[in-house]
Symmetry: C2
Subunit: 325 residues, 2 copies
């Protein structure tokens, strides 16, 4: 038996951050989160189920991956195979269209694309929200990459209801600019950073409370298409996430000197009347929520200010898509 599918998924940037797991095995989050799917960064993945294969194979960006990397994929594929009652080995061929220079995590788009292709080849035919509960176990933020526009990942009460739902297609003049500050591997991985924060930060309980409040507020603002409120809540929530790390023992931070310069520049541009708001994930790079119609002008200002840093525009991305079967 052979069976083939190819899928494409975009990455996403959280506006209300996912920061901390309540179950490390099941990737259940401590709080619900909300993101914007980005068009400019994506992954395309082919899955071939083939009984003639001896074991799973994983090729990423034309590079045959190590046993360790392949084992992670095998564990993920097994979730689908178990549900479908099959054991057929798979050849997974994946290409990341995330410019290395952007310094953006590709695990969200990677597991979303792989999950979509597996959903097809195993004939499980799950709807996207159900599929998101599988995808989640590859990478938490991948849940949100199944949909386009603004997407919520509800923390849920158990594995079955910790899932993604679409919130709004974000088709109202919205874009995002990424300023890549440092694209080298982080000294503290997201996984370790959130674990240290959950376990030791004095600010963590307050973070959880305020993330819940921010989520309600941003959904209202999105519904009203109140861009300023969406931006202010995004900026505030992101800074709170970074604040939790200063409350950890030992304290840590992902910020670099250039990060602060970019934040200052964004505040300055806002002072000049531009609608732009920053957010940051577990790394030094800065993502700037803006009006898509302003993005070319803003890109120029930022590129002039930081000639050595890649400054990349993205429009809003769509949900995961089956390219071939």
């Amino acid at each position: 038996m052979t069976n083939f599918a190819k899928a494409k998924a975009h990455t996403n940037i959280a506006l209300i951050k996912y920061w901390g797991k309540r179950d490390e095995q099941l990737f259940l989050p401590m709080n619900s989160s909300l993101s914007l799917t980005l068009d400019a960064f994506y992954t395309e993945t082919e899955v071939l189920l083939d009984d003639n294969l001896e074991s799973d194979q994983f090729i990423l960006n034309n590079d045959i991956q190590s046993l360790t990397e392949t084992k992670k994929i095998t564990d993920f594929l097994n979730l689908f195979r178990k549900q479908a009652g099959i054991t057929t080995p798979a050849k997974v061929t994946s290409q990341n269209f995330v410019p290395t220079a952007a310094g953006l995590a590709s695990s969200a788009s990677a597991f979303a694309a792989l999950g979509c292709a597996m959903n097809q080849v195993t004939n499980l035919n799950m709807d996207k929200s159900t599929l998101s509960t599988y995808v989640r176990r590859g990478s938490g933020s991948a849940t949100r990459s199944l949909f386009g526009g603004f997407v919520e990942w509800q923390m849920g009460t158990c594995s079955e209801d910790s899932l993604a739902t679409p919130v709004d297609d974000a088709n109202w003049d919205i874009g995002m600019i990424t300023v890549a500050v440092n694209t080298q591997k982080k000294t503290v991985s997201s996984r370790k950073g959130m674990k240290l924060t959950v376990e030791t930060s004095n600010f963590y309980p307050a973070w959880l409370e305020s993330a819940a409040t921010d989520l309600v507020a941003i959904k209202t603002a999105i519904k009203q298409q109140d861009f300023e409120q969406v931006g202010l809540i995004t900026e505030s929530n992101g800074m709170k996430m970074h604040g939790t790390m200063l409350g950890a023992t030992p304290p840590f931070s992902y910020w670099e000197p250039r990060t602060l310069e970019v934040l200052t520049k964004v505040r300055q541009l806002r002072g000049q009347g531009w609608q732009c708001y920053f957010t940051m994930d577990a790394g030094p790079n800065v993502k700037i929520l803006c009006r898509y119609s302003d993005s070319q002008k803003l890109q120029k200002f930022l590129q002039d200010a930081f000639p050595d840093n890649p400054v990349i525009i993205s429009k809003v991305g769509s949900g995961v898509e089956l390219l071939a079967k």
Copy 2:
């Protein structure tokens, strides 16, 4: 009637930070704090009570001060005059020996010196802890400058018992290095910064709890002369104070790009075996707690790394002192 006194007081750096007032009028703090008095930075102040004066005069660094500045001093002097039952005008002549380049607040040493001189000229003869309840109403952190070494400012329950007490003379190979990052006036004053934090930060209640815990822990570490613990608690408490600002609405920060470079350098030096720990107040400058016997070597490393930034060593300072009467 004339009466004259001259006093000298050193500045101090909080290791457990004072961050927030529960009473703006009385300068009652939200939490108890603990500091190290520094020898290198101080204020000398002369007070002449003279019935022939028409009103109070205030000369700072050979510069006759404005009516607004003089009014602040008058309000402070009135606390003493009222208690002593007099109304005699005063001429206050003050000299700050805080290198401008150090970017350190001088209000702590200024009000401590002025309070000590007033205590003398008004013949109130208060002990230092009682005097600290007066000094506090000029500047909260001035309470701690009345004593040398490690000093606690107990938050107290009311104006009378919110006072300073000596903890330890710190005569066990302790020093502090200041790296001045930016000595221009801050965009957000300490007063405004702490007010915004108290009123809006999601992290503020957790800050208060953990400042109380940190205070107990650092006093134990000081008693045991456990320098590493003193340093780690200092570093953690300072970062938490800065974390509270990222939880404020809107979020704000005193950090500058160079600040982060200095923090990284201190961590690097510690990784190489040097005992050094950073702390920061409401500004971008970095203060580094170290062994005084290491301070010359550390100063050289820091000055080599940051040739454009003043790097200033201080040994532990003594308490306020009457120079003449």
